[in-house]
C-alpha cells in the first residue's frame, strides 16, 4: 500500500505542477510591498495601543487639571484604568505576535497562533463587557474636556437618558458576547486538537 500511495501522490504532484504556473515576475514585483497577515495584525495592535496610550495621557492631563474636583477625577480615573488594562492586553498580544516564527516546527507555531487568537477574543470580550459601563464616565469627561459642559449640572433627565441608553445596549452586549463565545470555543477546541496531536499516544 505504501509504495502505491506514494507513487499515486507523485503522479498527483506531477499533474499539479503541469497544470499550474508561478508568475515569478509578478511575485518579485509584489515582494517589496507584500504584507503578511501577521504584519497586518501587528499594525492593528500597534494602532490600538497608540490610541490607548494617547487616551491614558489625555485622561491623566484631564485628571490633573481637575484634581480639586473629585466628580471629574473619578470618571477620568475609571477610564484611565480601562485604558491601562487595554494597553496591558495589547502589549501581551504584541509580544505574542513578535514571538511567532513561521520557520519553527508546525505544532508549536500553531499552538502560538491559537493562543494569540484566544487572547484577542478574550480581550475583545472583556473590552465589550466593560464598554457600556464606560459610557457615562466617557460622556462626563469628553463634554467637560472638550466643551466645558458639566453633565452633573444637567440633572435627573440626563441620568434617566443614560440609564435608558445603558438598558438599550444590553441586548447588543449579549449578542457580541455570544458571538465571541462561539469563536472562543472554536479556538479552544483547536488548541486542544493541537495538544492531542502533540501527545504521543501508543
Amino acid at each position: 500500500m505504501e509504495s502505491a500511495l506514494k507513487s499515486l501522490w507523485a503522479e498527483s504532484n506531477r499533474r499539479l505542477e503541469a497544470s499550474m504556473r508561478l508568475n515569478a515576475v509578478l511575485l518579485e514585483n509584489n515582494l517589496g510591498t507584500a504584507k503578511t497577515s501577521l504584519n497586518r495584525l501587528m499594525r492593528e495592535v500597534v494602532f490600538e495601543l497608540a490610541i490607548d496610550v494617547a487616551g491614558i495621557v489625555l485622561l491623566g492631563t484631564f485628571a490633573a487639571a481637575h484634581a480639586a474636583q473629585l466628580r471629574f477625577v473619578i470618571p477620568a480615573v475609571a477610564l484611565d484604568l480601562y485604558a491601562i488594562a487595554l494597553v496591558v492586553l495589547g502589549g501581551r498580544q504584541l509580544a505574542a505576535i513578535r514571538s511567532i516564527d513561521y520557520g519553527r516546527p508546525v505544532a508549536g507555531v500553531q499552538s502560538q497562533l491559537e493562543a494569540l487568537r484566544i487572547l484577542r477574543i478574550r480581550t475583545t470580550q472583556w473590552a465589550s463587557l466593560f464598554a457600556p459601563l464606560m459610557w457615562v464616565p466617557l460622556a462626563i469627561v469628553l463634554l467637560k474636556g472638550l466643551a466645558g459642559v458639566d453633565l452633573y449640572a444637567a440633572g435627573t433627565g440626563w441620568l434617566l437618558a443614560n440609564v435608558l441608553f445603558g438598558l438599550a445596549v444590553i441586548p447588543i452586549a449579549i449578542y457580541v458576547a455570544r458571538r465571541f463565545e462561539a469563536r472562543l470555543q472554536d479556538a479552544v477546541a483547536s488548541r486542544d486538537a493541537i495538544r492531542r496531536f502533540e501527545e504521543a499516544r501508543p
Binding site: 502505491a4 499539479l16 518579485e28 515582494l31 497577515s37 513561521y102 520557520g103 500553531q110 502533540e198
Partner: protein, 168 residues
C-alpha cells in the same frame, strides 16, 4: 547583493521549489483564488523569514515548514465560515476534468481522503507521501518520531478501507 538582486535570487529559489507551494495550497484550499491568496501570503512570509534562514535545514525543508504553518493558520480563519467540506466540493476537483480513467479516479480519491484529514494530520501525510524520513517529519512538525509512526499507521489504516481504489 543589491535588494533587487536579492529579491530575484529569492524568487528563483522559490520557483525551483514551487511544487511545495502548489501541493500545500491544493491540500488546504478548495478553489483557485484561495490557493492564489495562500501562495501570495506564503511567499510574503517566506521573504519576511528569509533573512533568518540559516541553512541548518535544506531550503526546501524550511520552505515546506513555513508553507504548512501559513496554510494551517489561514485554514483556521477560513473554517469560521466554512466548517465542513462535502465530498462534492473537495480540493482539486475543479482543477481536474471528470474522472475518465481508473487512475484519475484513484487520484481524486487520494486527494479527497487527504482533504478530509484534520489540518495537522494532513501536514503529516503530505510529508510522509513526499518521502520524508520519520525523523525529518518529527523535526518539522515538532512531535516525537514514535508519535509520527503511530499517527501514520492510524491514517494508513483509515485509508486502507479504500485500498481497492488506491492500489491497483
Amino acid at each position: 547583493m543589491s535588494s533587487d538582486a536579492a529579491q530575484r535570487a529569492f524568487i528563483d529559489r522559490i520557483d525551483r521549489h514551487r511544487g511545495i507551494l502548489f501541493k500545500v495550497a491544493a491540500a488546504y484550499c478548495l478553489n483557485l483564488s484561495d490557493r492564489e491568496d495562500l501562495i501570495q501570503e506564503t511567499v510574503a512570509q517566506l521573504w519576511r523569514a528569509y533573512r533568518a534562514f540559516d541553512g541548518r535545514s535544506s531550503f526546501s525543508t524550511w520552505m515546506y515548514r513555513i508553507a504548512l504553518n501559513v496554510a494551517i493558520g489561514s485554514l483556521r480563519k477560513e473554517t469560521r465560515n466554512r466548517r465542513t467540506v462535502g465530498p462534492a466540493e473537495m480540493a482539486f476537483l475543479e482543477q481536474i476534468p471528470e474522472p475518465q480513467s481508473e487512475e484519475d479516479e484513484r487520484l481524486s480519491l487520494l486527494r479527497t481522503l487527504i482533504a478530509n484529514l484534520p489540518p495537522l494530520d494532513r501536514a503529516l501525510m503530505l510529508l510522509y507521501l513526499d518521502d520524508y524520513a520519520y525523523a525529518e517529519i518529527a523535526a518539522m512538525l515538532g512531535i516525537s518520531e514514535s508519535n509520527v509512526g503511530t499517527k501514520i499507521a492510524r491514517i494508513k489504516e483509515r485509508f486502507r478501507r479504500h485500498a481497492q481504489l488506491i492500489v491497483t
